[in-house]
Symmetry: C2
Subunit: 328 residues, 2 copies
DNA sequence: TTGAAAGCGCTAACAG
DNA sequence: CTGTTAGCGCTTTCAA
């Protein structure tokens, strides 16, 4: 690979001038032309590693997510990527697999590779951001909030839980179960709280807690919990799914048993991007995942640019897309 | 951040010795201990940028895929990641969005960042690997084959097309349409060829081509094509979907019109990871995406390790999971 | 086995 | 506006 020295020699200028041309500082027009010519002739691409070493920062941001196979997070990733690449930044996608150990490894790499910032959907309460924050790098939390004083973007989780439940109540369902993610994840807890409040308001005397299940935020979690609920002496006639994958699992089990929605009512918090259901059968509380990514990326870029205002948390509203099929 | 010099000073050795400790070359036991102590005390992490600059290569591989929101590719990414991280490599996921321009940018970054190798599912025929190959870096093609003499891992696409179609024929369907990806993508062309041969063998006199549609490899592509097919004077009674997302789109349209499979027969090439259909309603030709990622990563790692055997192409077999629901 | 020293390619003072 | 120069932190000969 050609270096800045080769270009300088060919263009008859100093290496510093070549550097300046590629960094937009003032250089006379003729020299700019000469340098560009030479660079093109040599097929020169600046060596990013050297630049990074020298500058102590690179135009790369890390995006750490707990599950790369969840469309919710990939949709968010698209949002991040679009904003970042627009601004000349590349995005490195890191899959923590919900493990704080992997998370820590990626965070360490981010520092060791001089990345300019991090957007992270934390695995759980145990996530430590102390080290990365100590380096002064900006970090933005997405989807899940943290105990750190940093920027964040979250969904209106409690409201999502309430709307989902309310829609089912309005449709005439009575025994409305809830299947959520692990209780120690704040999004899961909030959504459950929304379900609880909507349901207990409608049915003050009902035994609500026996209808709650906490699973993993994955398809098999939803399946297992749904099976458990159906095995109850008095099974539910509807269910609120705490995220998209749980929703898929629950619907799969229902379908396999001939209880296809709306025979049993289903409301899902999160979109079902690849659903093959009739669009009117299930209530969906759309979570603006892409928008969350866009917002987070913008905030991070501002911080990278030197913005020092106090930490903000932005809460994104959801949109309810009610099931219109009649109950059977 | 602490540097190698800080550690050296604290441990009472030379920087070179510290480097050796972290690179596994021979150092006396006492010094190893001293260095490790000092490193721990200072919370030292080697600066990867500096190492990369010096070594002219880094333990990072790039994975370039055309659609990060397609579960097929994220499943593959998981396979790559698992193998790579096992071997101490990080994976940078790059989304080309099926655009050769974006692809070229990422390839250039891979070089400029001294990454050790690339696994790429090319956007289309127009993809140029000349530059990256000229740097001597190993490149492995996945999913789609290229015109270059490099390692590759592909699915048995033609066989997939045949099996899918044959299964529908066996189930008694007659007018079996095909919706595939863009014809200039070789996977799409091969799968179509499989459909064509199976169908023309079974129905030598039928006008097959009027039942073929070429769309994008996305949900909306599948939807549009399915609508077109249903608008035909003599609509098909079954359809083969060229990939998972096309399948989703086609099934959505059918469901919306009350033609839920198996009323109209559907065979999908690729898994439907988040399907909410009855598992017996649709024929699925499972493509081992994770396995493809694993295989590609292993091959790449071998090449990075200096393996110079002639380029290999590995073809992965699929597994047909027939619909068992009876035709209605 | 160990240390001294020379860069990897680039940027950013500092001079001019 | 332009060139000279000194490193960024690490690895790797080369000597000892």
């Amino acid at each position: 690979m050609a270096t800045i020295y080769d270009v300088a020699a060919l263009a008859g200028v100093s290496p510093a001038t070549v550097s300046r041309v590629f960094n937009g500082t003032s250089v006379s027009d003729e020299k700019v032309a000469a340098v560009r010519d030479a660079a093109a002739k040599l097929n020169f691409t600046p060596n990013r590693t050297a630049r990074t070493l020298r500058r102590q920062s690179s135009e790369v941001i890390a995006l750490v997510i707990p599950d790369i196979e969840n469309p919710y997070f990939t949709e968010m990733a698209r949002g991040v990527e679009d904003v970042a690449s627009e601004a000349g930044y590349s995005v490195v996608l890191c899959n923590s697999d919900s493990q704080t150990v992997k998370e820590a490894t990626y965070l360490r790499i981010a520092v060791a590779e001089h990345m300019s910032g991090v957007i992270i959907a934390t695995a759980d309460e145990g996530t430590s951001l102390d080290e990365i924050l100590a380096t002064g790098r900006p970090v933005v939390a997405v989807d899940r909030s943290t105990s750190y004083d940093i920027d964040g973007v979250v969904m209106a989780n409690r409201a999502a839980g309430t709307s989902a439940t309310q829609d089912l109540i309005n449709a005439g369902y009575r025994r409305i179960a809830y299947i959520g993610g692990p209780e120690h994840i704040d999004t899961a807890a909030e959504r459950a709280a929304g379900w609880r409040s909507a349901l207990s308001a409608a049915q003050p005397d009902a035994d609500i807690e026996s209808l709650a299940r906490f699973a993993t935020f994955r398809v098999d979690g939803g399946r297992a919990a749904m099976e458990e609920l159906l095995a109850l002496p008095e099974p539910p006639d509807a269910v609120v799914a705490g995220n998209n994958l749980i929703g898929v699992g629950a619907i799969q089990v229902l379908t396999e048993r001939g209880l296809t929605p709306p025979k049993v009512g289903v409301a899902v918090i999160g979109s079902l991007p690849f659903t093959t259901l009739s669009p009117t059968a299930v209530t969906v509380v759309r979570l603006p995942a892409r928008h969350m990514g866009v917002t987070a990326a913008r905030m991070l870029l501002e911080r990278i640019g030197g913005d020092t205002q106090p930490a903000r948390t932005i809460v994104l509203r959801n949109e309810v897309q009610p099931a219109s099929a009649l109950r059977v």
